[in-house]
Symmetry: D3
Subunit: 218 residues, 6 copies
């Protein structure tokens, strides 16, 4: 019998790692196969060696044993038209995920994040086999992001940090720093109401767009 | 080892049955113990024999083997003050649920539904052991209700109908009619994207207020 | 004296029929002339004979004696830029409608529906002669659609079904099925508070974007 | 054959006059009988002779030949409980309106306005004979008020001013001044897109909470 | 010439300290006189020595040299009626603040926080001399709180911690812990886009309800 | 020491003048240097001599001694992609504003206004030196625009009118009329709670997207 699949659909290499690699690790531990779809190669980043990002993404995916597909849309210029819809739909048909994770398409997010978050959410809603559609924390500022679902990633935080550390070309970006990542994860632990008792806990946070109870397995 | 518990907190007898008894049955099938808290006895209903409702509620709870507690707040005059908070908190402390279901407190709902839905949601958020807080479909008109979580209750629809049929004193109310209940459940099946292929399917729908992933058991 | 005009502005052939042909029939019965504008020919549908849709649209429009214009924008790739604005504006100038019906541009709708709904609404607001701007029910899932205006189409449901039946190329799509259409119309009847008394009633539902009271004729 | 009825449900004497007396006059001109329900007598106003307000309300109602009922709830302390619900419901049963006008219950409104607007809207939605439920402009600051429906009251502005002038005890309040009332009415004319051509036009503005198309008479 | 005044209106002793004492210290440094109004004495807290809170509040206010008034409404049972409105209005008339800080009245907040935040905001909006109305961070979970205004309190964080340390009776509550307070202040620094460069920065966050530019002094 | 800078980022010549030239004048009076960025030349306006608009913009900017840059994007066809982001970012890097003013990107605004308002807001949020990001009143209809910040421009209204009068090619547009501009400014004065006492006051209104307290200078 084949494994259930979790699919992360994001705009650039590093987006999935920041938003959901802790949850991804937790899903793998529960028997899920993992797949990451990046719509662009992230080449238009501000950093000098941005051409390295697809390669770094491959290293990061390997940390969790996840499949990685990097599409060739132009970084920074995605539009919510038929071509992007079709491409995302093809992947969803191919891997038949039961869980889809994507961007929270808030009004102040990066233009590509808005496009990918909106399209991936719409497409995933239409697929009857997708039982859970989650939108992850924005990498910069949280703005209107008001999550309902929280994942305890305390047991997986090291893997998340290891995956992020693969992005050497982005080492100078504030949101990639180890301390920033840990601070955020502690904030969401607190928002989730996780009791600390001295030992810090780490969480990821998501807006729930669609959930089917039997898939969730309550 | 003790069973996990699902707790339904609603304003009047019949509210829980309408909003979540299909999901309750599904939870029981997965090993949950069930508890229903009704804040009032429903005595101020428009129907002649409204005094029968607590007794009818007992019959309905028995259909699913659920515990039932009917509090003595006055039907129609609940306020979101300390007394109601404390009472709901006591029940949550007593039964220690991992799942809490309550009213969707929309702006056009019955005044008691707004109070109970708001207070139960707030209290359940604060309890670290509650992993899932859901707000159910309004019994009258859906208004701004925009659910994210859908439960397949096809296998349990008969139990839900049986429980509702216990409310003989309310048999003339439109939203208690068998056909109304089935129509609604089919509508949510369609909204959930459930494929029909000729065989009708039945769903319940909920707004997700809080979800902790390990409790959901993905 | 010329008739008042109702104009439906939608993205693809079949959109207008699904969202508002019952209301359209009701308007015709009250003396309105009807006009349908479809921005694309629907050629990129998933069905085999999608090239037939403009022809089918013509048959459907004929059921109500409505004028039909099918523009040649590419199905699936509409953008909210000057060209689409100008084209919709031209039609509004030409037919001078007092009622405009269009898509509800919700965040999870088909990309073309979002574009057409947004642009048609904006343009119609600016025209002083348009007294009513309505956004109709999404064909797939209702999501955040929260209608305020409900039309009783019980007397016109057969015409709506007849128009939809013209789309033979789409006969396999779930939302085109006779039973789906009737279920939806019954749901909105219930949301509108229509009393049944045994006889089923059928309604269409709309978000009100603009209404001028004298035009509404209260 | 009896006339259709329009009912205004507001918290204090002067609220209905400010929010909807132009529209009320327009409805009378179209054959409606008018009824005003004020839940309190406005006795806790800041002005010296606030005890005069019920009497002034009677004079104002007489300007339009409207029925007036002043209930005896305490000004400033209304709560959305059973007693207020029942009282409003009684009036709606008694006069059987097809149009109900009430407060916009925005988050920064006077506490009584929030209670009356919420309860009257909820009760009016449940009544199948009510075809139009409108929430009127707040008397102080507009805040989040985003109206969809605009009434041309140019022909009735004098009657509205005459009714407001009956409130001599409130002559010093800024929002009762003739110029303030005209300024507001011109603002809504502009928001409604009314073309001026030199001659000023006057409008009232409403949020549409419920509309049934046959009642609107398109 | 008299000093400008900043007034904090909150429900319980400790609420003002948590939400805005850093900003309060910054305002004092810019020449503001400070006043704190607590509507209740916090006696119904879960802690054993809750009767000590008014005394602790006095010590905390003294840290910033702020005036303190503790009203005698019952903790947990505030209602948005005339009495609470009048009491808050009296204080605003008495101290004539140009800045008012209060609770963010979000839907999942403590019932008293909702009441005080709503009433204080409404009253402060009506006072022409109030140039800035801010709603502070909820003490428990942030929920839908989406602030626009951020204050750099790095230079004042020690005073904030010192004031909170006065509440010995609440020393066991998680949100009163020094580390929790610092974590939150670092989170808001990051949300404000404050550059770190190794040195941690501390911020408080507020929803802006009203701002008059000359008062802000741009 | 160099002056602080206020930057207005809008889509077409005349947009900045309508939305914020009163506030701009107030900022200049407080020592700010002013810069206006117009993304297009406004050539696709409905008026005959629309080619004059960049020249008219230069005259208008001169009224306040503001720098003006007119970019060459095509009027009516802006898209929220990388090119527009980069261009706006370049200007923000070049002039290093502490205040940024732009469009309110409401759902019914001109397509270009939505694009520029969204992109300028996002970019300005990311710049640590920007302490205030404001979105100005739409030129046509206010729709969902719910401002929090109000500027008293009574002392500057003549300069605003003088700048608008430079747009001779648009003299026939209703929203450019002197009386319309004054009416709007009086409306916002009233919404701001400005007391009149016979002398009319004039205000501009803004949604606050970001504010840092030390920059605001309270």
């Amino acid at each position: 019998m084949s494994k259930p699949v979790a699919l992360a659909v994001f705009a650039h290499p590093d987006d999935a790692e920041l938003a959901c690699f802790g949850t991804f690790a937790a899903l793998r531990a529960r028997g899920y196969a993992l797949s990451v779809l990046s719509l662009t190669d992230g080449a238009n980043s501000d950093v000098e060696q941005s051409y390295l990002r697809p390669k770094e993404a491959r290293l990061a995916a390997a940390v969790l044993g996840a499949e990685l597909v990097v599409e060739d849309f132009e970084d920074g210029s995605l539009t919510a038209g038929r071509v992007v819809f079709d491409r995302i739909e093809q992947h969803i048909r191919r891997v038949r995920p039961s869980v889809v994770l994507t961007h929270y398409p808030g009004p102040r997010e990066h233009q590509d994040h808005q496009v990918v978050g909106t399209v991936a959410t719409t497409v995933a809603h239409r697929a009857a086999h997708v039982g859970l559609v989650l939108q992850g924390e924005p990498p910069g500022q949280a703005d209107s992001f008001t999550p309902q679902l929280f994942t305890d990633i305390t047991a997986h935080i090291d893997l998340k940090l290891k995956a992020l550390a693969c992005y050497k070309s982005e080492a100078d970006k504030g949101f990639m720093h180890r301390e920033t990542v840990l601070d955020r994860a502690r904030w969401w632990a607190r928002q989730a109401g996780a009791v600390e008792n001295g030992v810090p806990r780490y969480y990821e946070a998501f807006v729930v767009s669609k959930a089917l109870l039997p898939v969730l397995g309550v």
